[in-house]
């Protein structure tokens, strides 16, 4: 439930503006972003409503919504926004803040998206490069959807579309250090 009428200063709006470099207050709710967004139909709140919730200081609602996880960062919205607000940067800022403050949307779709990104990053941590076959197989295992895309696999593998192995970077240590330092910085921010 959304409760309005808070007397406190809207620190959430200030935080989002600072992290995103955008000014959410500029939004005058025309809805052009919603009609442009290819995935607004999948979102709990489409971009226009996310902007309004930020203005109203509804930190919890915004963090828990699936909207930021569905944003594809395609920038179609910001290209057409009459107020020229960088909406994808706003979506990204609230996602980073939600992760750092440990808010978790546990719907199956958001879980699947997060798992995908975590597996991908884990591969980069290990090899310095991405490894498509492992990404697909591991995602199937971790979402317990073992036979997803199994019919695609023979053609893709036979045609050499998806290679069996990855060639890791030589400076593996420097990549691992990068991940450790990044983690420290994230903790500092939250």
């Amino acid at each position: 439930m959304i409760t309005l009428g808070t007397q406190e200063k809207n620190t959430f709006l200030a935080d989002v503006n600072r992290r995103s470099g955008a000014n959410v207050l500029e939004c005058y709710q025309c809805g052009k972003c919603v009609s442009t967004c290819p995935v607004s139909g999948y979102m709990d709140f489409p971009p226009r409503e996310i902007m309004q919730l930020i203005k109203l200081g509804q930190r919890n609602e915004v963090y828990m919504a699936n909207s930021t996880w569905f944003c594809l960062t395609c920038s179609a919205c910001s290209g057409r926004c009459p107020r020229e607000i960088e909406i994808p940067s706003v979506m990204e800022a609230i996602r980073h803040m939600a992760i750092e403050e440990q808010y978790v949307n546990s719907s199956a779709k958001v879980r699947s998206i997060r798992k995908f990104h975590n597996i991908f990053l884990d591969m980069i941590r290990r090899y310095g490069r991405s490894y498509e076959l492992r990404l697909m197989v591991e995602h199937n295992i971790r979402t317990r959807d073992l036979f997803k895309d199994v019919t695609l696999a023979p053609a893709a593998l036979l045609k050499g579309k998806i290679p069996l192995l990855v060639k890791p970077v030589k400076s593996a240590q420097s990549i691992r250090r990068m991940f450790k330092q990044a983690e420290k910085l994230e903790k500092k921010q939250s």
């Binding site: 995935v39 920038s75 895309d149």
Partner: protein, 314 residues
């Protein structure tokens, strides 16, 4: 001979090997030498900027620093996603020197960043630096007869403030390139709609729906094939096409070429080296539009045709 820095990206070793190979072939023909960044790493793609702000900048920054150690002023990147992560990072750091120092000294081991290398997508490099006239002058086998829908996706032209290239709504650079090769570019309204990108694995239904609309509009435009400049767009449009056809109960039969595969084809390079066998949707129907292809055009016709093509340009 010009020399530029080359960042192939992870998919060049996997799903988009045909992009990487044909980029190398056409650049050689255009007298451009590609110098690959030694020991480059993954740009982080969608996952790094989705999950972590420091990683989103650190991973591309390591490559930018390594690129500066080579002696070239321009870096060209075939993959649209690698290109965008690199360009976003560059733009951000160029405007916030304090931040670049912060990330470079605390996270990235490879040294400091100076911002002296220009970052371009391979499409942008071909269009701006090589130019249509130079491309036209190398055509020995015109693609006349082939109608193509050029699909740019989101990342090559958007956001405008970052890419500084072509139109974010209705770009034309790839259309001009395929027309320089002799083909006809169709009017295609979905050329910058998103294909669903990495949801291909994590939320496949979204990709089936978004990519389905792109295929439908391309078919409606009268195209024999789609042309792309992004590995993820290619794999969503090509590898998922049979699934989408089943889902929509329609047959599209639209092969999805990289623009460099078509450049190599028009430059008269042997068809078997263009890796058409890797395509899931068969390419033969679209290729038949340009007439019977000589199995060894390189050896037999090159000298004669090259002269013809040059005189056409003049």
């Amino acid at each position: 001979m010009k020399k530029i820095t080359y960042f192939p990206g992870c998919s060049a070793h996997g799903t988009s090997k045909e992009f990487d190979e044909t980029v190398k072939m056409v650049m050689k023909r255009l007298d451009v030498q590609l110098e690959e960044i030694p020991d480059w790493n993954c740009c982080g793609a969608t996952s790094a900027h989705t999950m972590s702000e420091p990683l989103a900048y650190a991973l591309p920054l390591r490559n930018l620093i390594l690129a500066e150690k080579l002696d070239n002023t321009t870096m060209a990147i075939p993959c649209a996603s690698c290109y965008q992560r690199m360009k976003v990072t560059k733009t951000h750091l160029d405007h916030n020197p304090a931040l670049s120092k912060d990330i470079a000294t605390t996270i990235v081991d490879e040294g400091s960043y100076q911002g002296k290398v220009a970052v371009k997508s391979m499409l942008q490099y071909c269009y701006e630096d090589i130019g249509l006239e130079a491309i036209k002058s190398k055509v020995t086998r015109s693609l006349a007869g082939m109608k193509l829908a050029c699909y740019y996706g989101c990342l090559l032209t958007r956001p405008k403030a970052i890419t500084q290239f072509d139109s974010p709504e209705y770009p034309m650079s790839m259309d001009h390139i395929v027309e320089a090769l002799g083909a006809k570019a169709t009017e295609f309204d979905y050329k910058t709609e998103c294909c669903g990108a990495s949801f291909s694995i994590s939320n496949t239904e979204v990709v089936i729906s978004l990519t389905g609309k792109i295929l439908e509009m391309a078919k409606e435009s009268g195209a024999h094939a789609l042309v792309v400049a992004c590995p993820l767009c290619q794999s969503n449009l090509d590898m998922r096409q049979p699934q989408i056809e089943k889902h929509n109960g329609q047959k599209y039969d639209l092969p999805v070429f990289y623009f460099t595969q078509l450049m190599a084809l028009a430059f008269g390079m042997p068809e078997k080296e263009l890796m058409f066998k890797k395509h899931i949707v068969p390419v033969e129907g679209a290729l038949a539009q340009i007439g019977k292809i000589d199995p060894e055009p390189e050896k037999v016709k090159k000298p004669v045709k090259a002269v013809e093509a040059e005189s056409e340009v003049i």
